[in-house]
């Protein structure tokens, strides 16, 4: 049975989306229309209630804090110190800068909750440097963009918090632990692509060599003066240690029970504040109000989406749509391999034109019951969902990481798509492994007794 309200909802959503209406508003309008057309429910009231109470949740509170910690760390010189460390570790190999870029994105992603923070901070410094060393510009952008998505699998991760909240009784801590191995896996796969491509020398012809002056503009003095791979480990490690300690502080704090994920995020802000403002002094006290404002606006862009999506999931639940979808899918086949493949294909299609947060918000209530019916652990499903939508962050036409990567790398989406293809293959293989090898996700949380 297909409810007319559902058709109205989907049709109006697609039309509004195509007309460049902000996604959050498109979700809100189609939800309002669907509820209003029921004729029995005060639509405006319900949307207003779900919009407001849907975001007043303690776990979601971690998001603004991880955003703020990311801003403080990016502005405060932590990203640069991580690049130094990565270059000492992997910079000496052939195609070394590509590994440096990947590893730095992973490390920075590991301390900030968002992929865009990683692309803009790390990509902003690495892409010009790679170009200067003879890497193809578009290849450089592709590396940074795809590598940055590992930050969403490696904790802390804002989108995992969003998932834990919409999925219901799932602890943020177990999501965080579950993401570590898959995140590292994706990172290694990306490095593998770099290795293969650097051997064939296909992408690394010095066809796009930038004059050194251009690169120097956007680079810190340390980095331009740095001979990659030539420095000794100790001083560089010492410099990056405070940033790495933050990862340990956050994870150990959550695992050791000292604080909740939200409080760990607040501690991360305090720590990043001390490092950026007091120790490194790269952020001034007078800049703090601006940091607060940027945090507030970035938070609200995500939260307006969460807010209207909460209204949409109410409308879906009220019509018992998730149950209908689950029943429909299970009526096609009860082979879990096939159903997981179908779910992944749908999500990949969704990811091409929808951003991650709304996709998680809209599709978790619909697909999670199917996955649970198949015997999948909700945490495993969450990791699969996020790994899948990470690919979508880099695919045109809508991909936040792609947008940011292209803008910091000063190139176009069309130009970067071709060198991206090899990385898509690597991510797809990782996704397959994550989907069909539950241990990758569940191993760590089980070992720590978190599942």
């Amino acid at each position: 049975m297909v409810e007319p309200q559902l058709i109205l909802m989907i049709a109006s959503f697609l039309v509004l989306l195509a007309l460049d209406i902000p996604v959050a508003i498109a979700i809100g309008i189609c939800t309002w229309l669907a509820i209003f057309s029921l004729g029995t429910v005060p639509a405006s009231y319900v949307v207003a209630q779900r919009m407001s109470t849907g975001i007043a949740s303690f776990p979601l509170l971690a998001i603004p804090f991880f955003i703020m910690a990311g801003i403080l760390m990016g502005d405060g010189g932590m990203a640069r110190r991580l690049i130094d460390l990565a270059s000492v570790l992997v910079g000496r190999y052939r195609g070394g800068l590509a590994y440096v870029s990947t590893l730095t994105c992973m490390m920075f992603g590991a301390i900030s909750g968002s992929a865009t923070a990683a692309v803009s901070s790390v990509g902003g410094m690495m892409i010009p440097e790679m170009c200067r060393k003879g890497f193809n510009r578009n290849f450089s952008v592709a590396v940074s963009t795809t590598a940055a998505t590992t930050g969403l699998l490696i904790p802390p991760s804002n989108v995992m918090i969003v998932f834990a909240v919409v999925a219901g009784d799932i602890s943020v801590a177990s999501m965080f632990m579950a993401g570590i191995i898959p995140g590292i896996l994706v990172g290694l796969m990306i490095m593998l692509v770099c290795l293969i491509l650097s051997k064939s020398a296909l992408e690394i012809e010095p066809q796009d060599v930038q004059p050194a002056s251009e690169a120097r503009d956007s680079l810190s003095q340390d980095l331009t003066g740095l001979e990659f791979g030539a420095r000794s480990l100790a001083p560089v490690l010492l410099g990056a240690l405070p940033s790495l300690l933050l990862i340990i502080l956050v994870l150990a704090g959550i695992l050791g029970g000292a604080f909740s994920a939200t409080e760990a995020a607040a501690i991360a802000v305090l720590y990043a504040f001390v490092m950026a403002v007091i120790v490194y002094r790269e952020v001034k006290f007078s800049q703090l109000p601006d940091v607060c404002l940027r945090t507030g606006i970035m938070t609200s862009v995500v939260f307006l989406l969460i807010s209207t999506s909460q209204a949409m999931s109410w409308a879906l639940a009220y019509q018992a749509i998730p149950q209908s979808v689950a029943a429909l899918m299970l009526s096609i086949t009860d082979n879990s391999l096939v159903l997981l493949l179908i779910i992944n294909l749908i999500l990949l299609a969704v990811g091409t034109f929808m951003d991650m947060t709304p996709a998680v918000l809209i599709f978790t209530p619909i697909f999670l019951p199917v996955a649970v019916e198949l015997g999948m652990h909700p945490v495993h499903f969450g990791i699969m969902l996020i790994a899948n939508l990470c690919i979508g962050l880099c695919t045109p036409p809508v991909g936040t990481c792609l947008f940011v990567g292209c803008s910091v790398g000063r190139t176009s989406i069309a130009a970067v798509t071709r060198p991206m293809l090899a990385f898509f293959v690597a991510m797809l293989i990782s996704l397959g492994l994550i989907t069909y090898v539950p241990w990758l996700s569940m191993g760590l949380p089980r070992m720590l007794g978190l599942d």
Binding site: T40, P42, V46, Q49, T53, F58, G168, G257
Partner: protein, 312 residues
């Protein structure tokens, strides 16, 4: 109007939506499914009760608000979030108001119990019946709570309710409000040292895996209430209203039986899982809260408290 009407062979069909935040294995959910069946039989299929478990349509407070606007027909709620709407409901959250289970049921069936059930009508909430939610007791990770002294320095998770926080404080513990969904991890990681709830919740949420001591001090008896939207109710014909009330009453009797069976079974299961059940001397706890009882003197809640204590 505010009821989902669907034409069905000349007879009007009523679809009533009931949302709650419990799991489908919970005795209250089973009682609601029983009510749905009863209604179907009584109405010859013209009244359908659709149940939405697991908080699909929002938290208890949000569902209550949706009832008030007529977006939802029914919900189940603990009396704790009802305090925000009907201050008198706080009576159930005050520790040691009831001498024992017998006293509790006498109060529920007295004029006071009936008055509290209908007290929400002024804010658009019609109470249909009470469901048994047993007695709440402390459970802790490391050491048992045998007397109020044992609570000293222990962080105890409480609901977001002022009375609950006052209660734990009066008994000597440090009340820590934490979302229910986060509680398992919080207990496991030692963010809090214990919590308080009824044995079936202790069991179904698997808190027994981390809390090895259940101390049956039975400090409060906080029932559940089945609420109906006043707005939706007004749109129903008299005979349908009567069916609903009858089906609710029957489900309440059924639920009380299910609950006591469940409670017994659960206490046995947690022991098998390695939990030690303790039976502390309740009078020590009761004397600790005398001051809290006294603090209500002269207020509306104080008068109600006296009336309840006077029930013999």
């Amino acid at each position: 109007r505010h009821v989902n009407l669907r034409p069905g062979g000349g007879n009007e069909k009523y679809v009533l939506k009931l949302a709650h935040s419990l799991d489908q294995s919970h005795p209250v959910h089973k009682a609601m499914a029983f009510m749905a069946d009863t209604l179907k039989t009584k109405s010859a299929g013209t009244v359908e009760l659709q149940i939405f478990p697991n908080g699909q349509l929002g938290s208890e407070t949000e569902c209550i608000e949706q009832l008030q606007r007529g977006a939802l027909a029914m919900t189940k709620t603990s009396t704790a979030p009802m305090e925000s709407f009907i201050p008198d409901m706080a009576i159930f959250g005050i520790p040691y108001v009831f001498r024992d289970e017998d006293h509790f049921w006498k109060m529920i069936h007295s004029a006071i119990g009936k008055r509290l059930l209908t007290a929400g009508e002024s804010v658009g909430l019609r109470g249909l019946c009470y469901y048994d939610a047993g007695a709440r007791s402390f459970y802790t990770t490391d050491r048992p709570v045998m007397s109020p002294n044992d609570l000293k320095g222990l962080k105890i998770r409480v609901q977001q309710s002022k009375t609950a926080m006052d209660m734990v404080e009066a008994l000597g513990g440090a009340p820590t409000p934490i979302a229910w969904g986060e509680l398992y991890t919080a207990l496991q990681q030692g963010m809090v040292d214990g919590a308080e709830n009824n044995p079936p919740s202790f069991f179904t949420n698997r808190h027994f895996e981390v809390c090895k001591h259940l101390s049956l001090d039975e400090h409060t008896r906080v029932p559940d209430i089945l609420l109906f939207s006043e707005k939706v109710w007004e749109g129903l014909p008299g005979h349908v209203q009567q069916w609903i009330q009858e089906a609710a009453d029957e489900s309440a009797t059924y639920q009380r039986k299910l609950w006591s069976e469940e409670n017994e079974a659960v206490l046995q299961s947690v022991v098998e899982e390695g939990v030690t059940i303790h039976y502390p001397d309740k009078s020590e706890f009761a004397s600790k809260v005398a001051a809290m009882h006294g603090s209500y003197e002269g207020s509306q809640l104080g008068n109600l408290l006296q009336q309840v204590l006077d029930i013999k």
